[in-house]
Amino acid sequence: MAGDFKKFEKTGCRFCKVKTHIIDYKDTPTLTKLTTGQGKLFSRKRSGNCARHQRQMKTAVKRARFLSLMPYVAQ
């Protein structure tokens, strides 16, 4: 039935919502929320990020890992 479909709320990119231009690699609390417990990056589907911010987030996490702010693989 056409009328039975649930109306899903569009979940946009969380960074676009606050109009962020740059994702900082030093902001580890935010970046930690976008990684799994093991330390792997969430996919775009899971994080809800737009392509541009997902790319920025990826770079930020990799920078944070290099400086040992975040783990490559969590134990």
Partner: protein, 129 residues
């Protein structure tokens, strides 16, 4: 549409982060900071603002160090400076890790380096230190 590149205005600004072992940093921070400042300035850079960013447990051991002190520095320098800094930082025994990034032209240099840029507040409004 063709993208028009504007000519760069003046020397570029950079952001550099250095990681030092906490034990060494707590023993004689002034000497360690002077060493890192010298390392940056030797390349012909002008330091705009610098200071201790944080002291924390490392996510993984680096050269046997479990805790680290981060020193953050914003500077203005000619284009060949970052490579010079990277090369000398790798040879330094004090510095465990270093990273030099180009600062966006639109970004302002914070005078207090301990203030962190809040990327986004997820869930609730977090106040960053």
């Amino acid at each position: 549409m063709k993208r028009v590149q504007t000519a760069p205005e003046g020397p570029r600004r950079y952001e550099a982060m250095f990681l030092v072992e906490s034990g060494l940093a707590s023993k004689d921070w002034d000497a360690v900071e002077a060493h890192m400042k010298e390392l940056v300035q030797r390349s012909g850079a002008t330091i705009l603002s610098a200071g201790k960013w944080d002291e924390r447990k490392l996510s993984f051991e680096i050269r046997g160090a479990r805790r680290g002190t981060y020193w953050l520095c914003y500077f203005q320098a000619p284009a060949d400076a970052p490579e010079k800094i990277r090369r000398t930082a790798v040879l330094s025994e004090t510095v465990l890790r270093s990273m030099v990034l180009v600062l966006d032209r639109t970004e302002e240099v914070p005078q207090d380096v301990t203030t962190r840029r809040t990327t986004v507040a997820i869930g609730e409004d977090r106040e960053m230190r």
